[in-house]
């Protein structure tokens, strides 16, 4: 039989490049990263000694790490819950046809296509302690006096708020697009039935619309979580973890620890710390998304 017809052989041939690519370029380095986390390796490469879970234990002893762990969870959860809620509201609002929808969609897509390193620098400027346009406006409206105003990136709580804001800003478009897809996947008949059956806006939303877009929102949320857990660019550009490590997240801490501090093993341990939890959560969510009722 020709290859083009032989199912078993064909399936392997079609799959092989992807598996090879991932094994070589992600699998290999990933295994290395795990090995790093179990050794005392530093950037300079000396002392490749196996130290077991020492790096992980050391991390747990470090208050900065514990803070970063808490921050990561907080950052990911708060930003993703906000994204989910806001994206749902926005997607529902965007379902209606109206004039200028094209433009609105364009504007809403912008944060997603902007190179994020640059977009975040834009926010850095918006949050600047002296030139913040937000503060200028607040002063102009006399919400704040001429001498005191919020220092967005300088006070631990505000800094967290700022970082979450930017993260929401950057992930909202994708989540909205995904949810729009989910919404448009619900047959019109279901909405009509709910309406004829007497459901008012909120019953309709919470008992019909939201349960039905749940699978796709799980996927959207999963993406958001993965970005929030593994990407450090927002923290890196806006606060570098400051003020005094109160906005440090695991990804940025791992980066500073390994690349700036030189402790490759310790950095890898920090970065991989949540991996088992994340993997379990991701598998669970994907499973739920695929099993959930979809019309």
């Amino acid at each position: 039989m020709r290859l083009a017809d032989d199912e078993r052989a064909l399936s392997r041939v079609l799959l092989a490049p992807a598996v090879l690519y991932i094994a070589l370029l992600v699998g290999g380095p990933f295994v290395l990263a795990i090995i790093y986390s179990l050794t005392s390796i530093s950037l300079g490469g000396h002392s490749f000694n196996f130290v077991g879970l020492q790096n992980f234990q050391a991390a747990l002893r470090d208050p900065s790490f514990r803070r970063a762990l808490g921050n990561t969870v907080l950052f990911a959860f708060v930003s993703q819950i906000l994204v989910l809620v806001l994206a749902s509201v926005l997607a529902i609002a965007l379902q209606r046809e109206f004039r200028g929808k094209w433009l609105v969609r364009l504007l809403i897509l912008l944060p997603w296509v902007a190179p994020i390193s640059l977009g975040t620098i834009g926010w850095l400027w918006i949050f600047d302690s002296i030139y913040s346009v937000i503060n200028w406006t607040l002063r102009y409206l006399h919400i704040f006096g001429a001498t005191t105003w919020p220092i967005w990136l300088g006070q631990p709580k505000l800094a967290m708020v700022s970082i979450v804001t930017v993260q929401v800003w950057r992930t909202l478009p994708l989540a909205t697009v995904i949810l729009l897809g989910g919404l448009s996947g619900i047959p019109q008949d279901i909405h009509d039935a709910a309406e004829v059956d007497g459901a008012r806006f909120f019953r309709h939303m919470f008992q019909i619309t939201i349960p039905l877009v749940l699978p796709i929102s799980l996927v959207a949320t999963l993406f958001g979580f993965v970005f929030a857990f593994t990407d450090m660019i927002v923290v890196y550009v806006l606060t570098r973890g400051g003020p005094f490590d109160t906005t440090q997240v695991l990804a940025s801490l791992a980066f500073f620890k390994s690349v700036d501090g030189g402790d490759l093993g310790g950095g890898a341990a920090v970065a991989l710390f949540l991996l088992p939890v994340l993997a379990a959560a991701a598998v669970g969510m994907l499973h739920m998304a695929r099993r959930a009722e979809v019309t």
Partner: protein
Amino acid sequence: MATVETKNIRKVFQEHTAVDGVDLQTREGEFLVLLGPSGCGKTTLLRMIAGLERQTSGDILIGGRVVNEMPPRERKIAMVFQSYALYPHMTVAKNIAFPLKAQGAEPKTIDARVKTAASMFGIERLLQRKPRQLSGGERQRVALARAMVREPDVFLLDEPLSNLDAKLRHMARDELQQFQRRLKTTTVYVTHDQVEAMGLGDRIAVMSAGKVRQLGRPQEVYDDPADTFVAGFLGSPPMQFFENDGALVGFRAENLLPKAVYSSNEPLVSFWYRVTRVEDLGADRLLYGSLRDLAPDTKMIVNLPSTIHVPLTPGEAYEFACKVNDLKFFDPKTGLRIPSRPLRGKA
């Protein structure tokens, strides 16, 4: 109990007029069928009655009250959708309970009424299942149960049988009619299937291009079509036409029989008919052929019941006839019925 009335109702989508000035009035407890080919505006009309679409102009009255400004939930209607629109994430029980919950009914009442509805349709054992675990017929029953559970004034049904296979459809039709007769709830039913319409409707409104062409009892609509559209839409095969003396003359395939079958004192019109092919269908014989003389080379199909045993050989011409009353005359320009008149020319 209530009637549904539409007064000069119109619906215009951008350029295209879907419903073009429809006046309809149901009777109390009546089963009214909206029949027409797809795109004729019947579903749009139904959705306007439901309140799912806003009419461009005209009024809708339910129980004598103008409901133009009311959302669907206030119109005391229930609707069954073509797809049934069961909520896929809810069990059957929850689906049926949903309209009651939306009304804010007591949990006790809800339980009791869900049970009653379920037993009425024989779906008690399905209550804990989800819609995707049901067969087509079961889904339809759940949809009906969900529609009737809140005891609406009016049922609206949008082609509820079209997703069933032929065998199920017969049974479902029967169940549906029995159920309606029992509840005596005014029902508006949309379909494109004339058999359903004839079988179910107390009256049928035949629609085409956004207008109601004829409203009447099934037999009326069949026997006395108001225009060529109705005549041509109903019946299988539909009414056939030939031109004669500036009029379109129509008759149904079962009305043309060999002349010998008739008793001699009936007023008949006779034709020479050349048979080209015979299809024996068991209960009927279908003849394919053409008329001669009166309307040369007009292809005609004739439906002979198997009780008529006249031998017919393809290629031969025979003398056929139909009763004068069975010939319907139409204006070829407007398509409307005109009074009967004698045929001209040689028979």
